[in-house]
Symmetry: C2
Subunit: 340 residues, 2 copies
DNA sequence: GCGCTGGATTGAATCGTCTAAATCAGCGGT
DNA sequence: ACCGCTGATTTAGACGATTCAATCCAGCGC
């Protein structure tokens, strides 16, 4: 009934537990005949390795925790998929955790992962200076920051230059003639959001005659985008922004819905640029312009860095890998492609 | 440096390991003064419980594996979120695994989960009769089927009546006057797909004068939906279906894109009904009609069933919970709401 | 026939935690 | 002064796999 242990396999096959373990871990040093006999017994008995025991003895697990803001956001599932690819090659399993941009949930997950003595953690931290996170690192769990640059250099990180992203969006909108632009995103305390805002701000300031208005949201999801959109649509036409730069595509999608509901045309009455270029952006009611980030690559690279860090802890030097985003212009911000 | 063990905490606090363990697990039987001293030492030393050792000793883990077809499909992330909610209440952590409707990947994940001696597994199985899956169950890992009915009754399951879903879609399209309908989905070997098809087929047959054409796809993703759409758009107008029922919303979204690309109007030239009613369906270029499934509820219920099964293994009787889907009609299948 | 070599196998210790049984200290009752 | 009791604490195995030093043995050269 209960799964047999290595010991029962040994008895059944008439060898010692050491030999069974060797068959499992270094088959080459076991005599072929013995090896086969053990293998047969394993199959016969339906033996399944106990990872917990293995883990205890080895001191380190084969699981990597990936903590992200929002698993429902395709950007993060793409990222997760990239991480998974690399993990698979190294016989590592990925545990996806959803922090929902909530520091409490994030902390909870980190605690669980540390208790599990995971191989390492990839995380988009709510606050990269979180003392809890650094305590965890100090206690020995390897951590790689994802979609976030490690300021101090005390950690590896993989990110995309969000300021550049913000500038790309700003430049595009300004060049399209917009003079009143809204930024929708939040919480502003989040580095990613702050950087995107900083990016577009710098562009706006350079232009001189452009007004940028910030609308902070609590969570970057469709619902909040819609809410912000309703608020903005309700503004008097004269002072209402003519373009919106949304902190991510979910916000942008919600925002777009609000425009439709309010009877405002996109891009004529309101141009929209999102962020992440998730797959659904292109399929939206009005195909969405968006700042594209190489999500899969972020995930792959992060896992590789983690792998490197653990495999060769001595020689390892923390690295900050930074990718460049690019702007994908679609109908939501391009009059020339507009249907009417 | 290395995380301290319970033993070091004991030494430091001047008590035995047993007492430390008791502080952790049954604080009430420890004298308040001692308890406090141990607690202080724990904080001071930064002790973190080793879940692997605990797990080994207890024989069962606190992790539940959730194996789904496609983590990038919002239907499944909603489902996962529901499962997570309930898991959280029971101090259980959920491990999300992506099978990508690939039996090999699925098997790989099941193997990993079994090695980890997880608390249990929730799975949308590619083939619910898979011998590997049943062997795993026989060896003692509790499994609950999700979005899939357990035929034999040898397992708990939570599902939505897909035949009803298919009938709802069929009825709606036929009543809207369509006489040539396409079904896009696959692989047809998947029960969910087969049932949805069976549902619409039965409705079609009852109507008598309606023709149903099936287009099988390998994977239910946006790309395949687009592909199928292109193929159908290329058919001569006379024989081309006037409506499409897609196996899920991702397919439908892709299909919709293909219609736009081919210059066909939705719903005038082609009505579309999707499945799952994911959040993005409402935000699509043409808001998508869809058969809604209570994803979160599926996840919550599944986790509850698993919990019940493990907590009270003796008295437990396997149950099949079946929810009913309902149809959400939006513009993609409704002329009256069409903009033109 | 002896000792040696080297490949194959064994045995025991170990990882960190939990728990049942044993021990201990203190105290009230007789 | 002693017994027995209660409540607090300690002790001593497990749990299952890994690993390394120790052992075993067959074969070989001399």
């Amino acid at each position: 009934m209960a799964t047999p242990s290595i010991k029962e396999v040994a008895q059944h096959a008439g060898v010692s537990v050491g030999t069974v373990s060797n068959v499992l871990n270094r088959p080459s040093i076991v005599a072929p005949a013995t090896r086969q006999r053990v293998l047969d017994t394993i199959r016969e008995l339906g033996f399944v390795r106990n990872e917990a025991a293995r883990h205890l003895r080895l001191g380190r697990g084969r699981t990597v925790g990936l903590v992200v803001f929002d698993v429902a956001n395709p950007f993060f599932t793409d990222l997760a998929e990239g991480a998974d690819e690399v993990a698979y090659e190294h016989d590592i399993v990925v545990m996806l955790c959803n922090s929902k941009t909530d520091p409490v949930r994030e902390g909870h997950h980190l605690g669980q992962l540390e208790q599990q003595r995971v191989f390492g953690i990839l995380i988009t931290p709510y606050d990269s200076a979180d003392p809890g996170l650094h305590a965890l690192v100090a206690r020995g769990t390897p951590v790689v920051l994802v979609d976030r640059t490690a300021d101090g250099g005390g950690l590896c990180s993989v990110s995309v230059d969000d300021q550049v992203g913000g500038r790309l969006a700003g430049k595009h909108l300004i060049e399209s003639g917009h003079r009143r632009i809204a930024f929708i995103g939040g919480p502003l305390g989040m580095q990613q959001v702050a950087d995107r805002l900083a990016g577009i701000t710098s562009t706006v300031e350079k232009a001189g005659d452009v007004e940028l208005q910030t609308f902070e949201v609590a969570v970057m999801g469709v619902a909040h985008g819609r809410e912000a959109g309703e608020k903005i649509a309700a503004l008097p036409r004269r002072s209402r922004p003519t373009a919106a730069f949304c902190g991510n595509d979910l916000l942008a999608l919600g925002f777009l819905q609000a425009m439709a509901a309010a009877g405002l045309q996109v891009p004529e009455d309101m141009a929209i640029v999102g962020y992440d270029d998730i797959g659904f952006a292109a399929a939206a009611a009005v195909p969405l312009s968006s700042v594209r980030q190489p999500a899969g690559q972020l995930g792959r690279t992060a896992m590789q860095l983690l792998q490197e860090e653990v495999e060769d802890a001595e020689r390892h030097r923390h690295r900050q890998v930074i990718f460049q985003p690019d702007l994908v212009v679609r109908q939501s911000s391009d009059y020339t492609r507009s249907s009417r």
